[in-house]
Symmetry: C2
Subunit: 452 residues, 2 copies
């Protein structure tokens, strides 16, 4: 059976390719995980195309790995068992905007910046901001979050409805348009974060927000990381509705300065943002200034206008790329644990010590308002000793988090990198997850080897 | 096999009863749904007790219906197939408070007011407020919400972790302590709202909030319901972070006045509440006053102090009871649809017309910020014609909502009352829900006849 030929007949010839360059592009993501080639890449243009591919793949037991932009960080979209890389980039349209319902319906291949460009016309924005200009389908698949979730929630919180093609070829809708529902089982939540292991997302109806009346950003520097993190917990405890609250250590600041031609002071820093009405925001900011000053904040610098605010967050968002570009020949290994907020200070100190013990170039940054932080280290994949050190570091950090009620992945997903911690994190619940996977995908064609 | 005797041996004798009064108390909820007696009532004291009961019940295929306080409104806890009513009221302890993590771990039998009494010591509160002093286990089982969810989210949004005893007797934890996670499948969301059909909740770890610096409540009256609802959509569109926003029609105001000795004006009214810092709240309230005045608001009355605010919300919360007490011999039938916010005004007008067509005593109230409203009618269950009219009204209202992307139940759950709309609302996804139910409870012992 010539699967490529048969699938080309089911769709059109230009939608199915075995081109080597194309296969290579779909063999990797932005992580240190080892690439693996798909047998072919398919570009569906509509839900019916996805259905045809899945029906065919299910019949012949061919693995199907949905692919957004390849910005994943745990090998989530790498086709380790070959088969089909299902590239959703041609399905990138806005299908419907309902501004007064604060809803937008899109196809999965649309990216975050494309979406926000469309929403701006209506005075609206999409809150989830993982840094990368990822596709919305990919963000839903991994349950992405990022800098703003401390205020607006994670990807799962924004999904009102998904259209999903199941392994059976059946097309389902997981939710509805209403802001809340107690009807049936919560399939929205089940599908978000399932990383393509239960089905392919072909449409998303997402919650959007009005652009706030006032936005203010600030950089606050501290004498040591401990006091910076203490400021985070104090700001949360004071009930200040901060919209972003990022910890950036001095090693990261150095990289930010080099890559962005800044001269930020080389100190542990909080990048903060506040959203609100003018009067409320002013009071919040005054209160925040008192709190951080009590904790030894050395300097606080406000970014008042849109441009300088954008520059601040660009620097933060490009941090991972800054490390990559600053260390040619090396790959980025990034951890992604999240812990209860009271365990965060200890976790970050432990991570910094552990990085120093490896002798690798590294840093700690984090979405600290959620208890989520990343340890970044640069690794030469050809140097087995370096690779081993990075893996040990990841393991140390994950085990530290799990022992304290945390999770092995706050926002990057399980992919292949975190499969080995699933049993430890979820215990008997992991069997329940496996049984659901088996019920919905009995032949195991959907992104095999990921999560399970 | 004498199941009562065997189960008494597995637990202690006083934990298992067939007492007629006790069985009757567990045969009904607060709705018009017809009561049905359990064969016995069992009072577990710990997770192990629940495990023993479930293992026994699964072996002998005895139905198990978890029971909180019986405040459900769709027959959710009525044991229509007999068997065991599993009363969780003895498991009502606070297990752990982690104030700086904004978390509390409780047993399922604790009620909302008990929980908030405990939290107040820490300057914290639990946001979900369905009116009734329901148990937290019951609230999680039905995915309850109520007046505050427009700001703080529904029950599902507050659940960080659940301990659940499955039909297999296995005990699982569905989540963790971290504010976010992308690890594994989202079992938290699946269990919340599953109404005891997938397992018995034996522990809940819940997100709590700091008590806001300022709270202000108001009553705003309008010349007609259309303009009141238009004010709701305008307030939302203006990005004002309102904490409660309730529509109460003039029929309901009449009942409120009688039951609570008030003299609120007999006009369509919005009950509003704002939470925030002092300066921000003041600006929000000023803006809101402009908006409602542009829409013909006739009078706006603020409740400034804690006592008068409490009285306002007490009146709102007691509304259903006011109708019940005001119409002895009749039972309350209450609809519970939720729609996209732009469809709400039409839906409420349609509901009011439909109530008038029945000739029954009735009213419309609603958590309108979420698009969720209730039509209440008083029904003499002995009068078959009245019962039929009420059922037709429910059906009309549900179909109106479903045709517009809404849901048949915003917060009361499916129980038995909404089973017949599940296929229509969820389509092919209903089969997926059924397959998950079958996977987790192959013998169908967990609250049989509910949702499925």
């Amino acid at each position: 059976m010539d699967h490529v030929k048969e699938l080309s007949k089911l769709l059109t010839e230009d939608q199915v390719t075995t081109n080597q360059t194309m296969r290579e592009q779909h063999s990797r993501d932005e992580s240190y995980h080892i690439p693996s080639l798909p047998d072919m890449v398919i570009f569906p243009k509509r839900t019916e195309d996805v259905q045809k591919v899945i029906n065919y793949a299910n019949t012949y037991e061919i693995p199907v790995v949905p692919f957004g932009l390849g910005s994943s960080l745990e090998g989530n979209a790498i086709p380790y068992k070959g088969g089909i890389s299902l590239d959703m980039s041609l399905m990138n349209q806005v299908l419907e905007v309902r501004p007064n319902d604060f809803l937008i319906k899109v196809q999965p291949g649309i990216t975050r910046l494309q979406l926000n460009k469309e929403l701006k016309k209506y005075g609206l924005f999409f809150t989830v901001d993982p840094g990368a200009d990822a596709t919305l389908g990919g963000m839903a698949a991994t349950n992405a979050s990022g800098t703003t979730s401390v205020r607006y929630g994670i990807m799962r919180d924004q999904v009102r409805d998904l259209e999903v093609v199941l392994a059976s070829g059946e097309v389902i809708h997981t939710g509805g348009l209403s802001a809340k529902s107690s009807s049936g089982l919560h399939l929205n939540g089940l599908m978000v974060g399932s990383e393509g292991t239960l089905g392919v997302i072909t449409e998303l109806t997402l919650k959007v927000h009005g652009i706030p009346e006032c936005i203010m950003a600030a950089r606050a520097t501290f004498p040591d990381p401990g006091r910076a993190v203490e400021a985070v917990t104090s700001i949360l405890a004071a009930n200040i509705p901060v919209a972003r609250m990022e910890f950036v250590d001095e090693h990261s600041i150095r990289q930010v300065n080099i890559a962005n031609e800044r001269n930020y002071e080389l100190k542990p820093t909080l990048f903060l943002e506040f959203h609100g009405n003018e009067a409320g925001l002013k009071q919040d900011v005054e209160f925040m200034k008192e709190i951080v000053s009590d904790l030894g904040c050395m300097d606080i610098h406000f970014e008042m206008d849109t441009k300088s605010r954008a520059e601040l967050w660009e620097a933060r968002h490009n941090l991972a790329y800054s490390f990559i570009h600053g260390h040619p020949g090396k790959k980025l290994m990034v951890t992604d644990v999240s812990l209860p907020i009271t365990e965060l200070a200890g976790a970050i100190l432990h991570a910094r010590e552990s990085i120093e013990n490896t002798g690798l170039v590294g840093a700690v940054v984090g979405h600290v308002g959620d208890g989520n932080y990343h340890a970044l280290v640069m690794v030469d994949l050809a140097d087995q000793a370096e690779v081993e050190k990075a893996k040990e570091l990841n393991e140390l950090i994950v085990l530290y988090a799990l022992e304290r009620g945390g999770t092995c992945t706050g926002e990057h997903g399980v992919g292949v990198g975190k499969v080995k911690y699933q049993q430890k994190e979820h215990g008997a619940a992991y069997e329940v997850m496996k049984s659901i996977k088996h019920t919905l995908d009995p032949k195991g064609i959907m992104n095999p080897g990921k999560i399970f």
